[in-house]
């Protein structure tokens, strides 16, 4: 079936550096994507979303890039902080339904 996956299971960065988390999706018909952050013991928390008619969307310290040609999604976090340490999931959204990838753990070191 259709699936959403991630390239790297773990990413370690130094505090202050930029982080890039990647995600591949397989359903070319998907038209909406969301990045979630999940801290230990908590539910996933919405970070940013993007529709398929866009290539880039920026939020506060975060940017999502969408490359529909190669079905690739990335989350960029600027000036990574210790509080950014968490597992990040990309999710493909159809009509009221989310399909999650396996997640990437981001570890921020001082």
């Amino acid at each position: 079936g259709e699936s959403v996956g991630l390239h790297l299971p773990t990413l370690s960065v130094q505090e202050g550096d930029n982080s890039i988390i990647n995600c591949a999706y397989s359903n070319s018909a998907s038209d909406y994507f969301i990045w979630y952050k999940q801290e230990s013991g908590k539910g996933p928390q919405f970070i940013i979303d993007i529709r398929s008619n866009m290539d880039k969307r920026q939020g506060q310290r975060v940017t999502v890039l969408l490359n529909k040609t190669v079905k690739h999604l990335s989350l960029q976090i600027a000036a990574t902080q210790p509080g950014d340490s968490a597992v990040y999931f990309c999710a493909e959204s159809g009509y009221n339904k989310l399909i999650f990838g396996a997640g990437t753990r981001l570890a921020v070191h001082p």
Binding site: G43, P44, D49, N96, F100, A102, G103
Partner: protein, 115 residues
């Protein structure tokens, strides 16, 4: 706003015992979801409700799992009997619903350990 509220946060039971989880969605959110999250994996949808109607339960193991959303607000998810492989975090989420894409808001989850 309280967000999506789930209880209990943690539950430890022996296999073959029953267990139930409760969810109170965000006020006004018509769509409610139950997801299961195994360790180290992303959440997987079990069931989706539009108001009180289960509109997608294709991934719900119906031999032992059941869910209800009476009156279209709170929801319960039950497992009877529980198996070792049911150990996971059960997440409830809600969204406004309707057509188009919706952002889901998740609760903190209920962590189940089956011994």
């Amino acid at each position: 706003e309280a967000g999506v509220v789930q209880s209990p946060r943690y539950k430890i039971i022996e296999k073959k015992q029953p267990v139930a989880f409760w969810c109170n969605p965000i006020s006004g959110h018509n769509t409610l979801y139950w997801y299961r999250q195994n360790l180290g994996q992303g959440p997987e949808l079990l069931i989706r409700y539009e108001n009180e109607e289960a509109v997608d339960d294709s991934q719900l193991p119906k031999d032992r799992f059941s869910a209800e959303r009476l009156k279209g607000v709170d929801s319960t998810l039950k497992i009877q009997p529980a198996e070792l492989g049911d150990s996971a975090v059960y997440l409830c989420a809600s969204s406004l619903g309707g057509t188009g894409a919706n952002v889901l808001t998740f609760g903190a989850g209920s962590r189940l350990t089956v011994l």
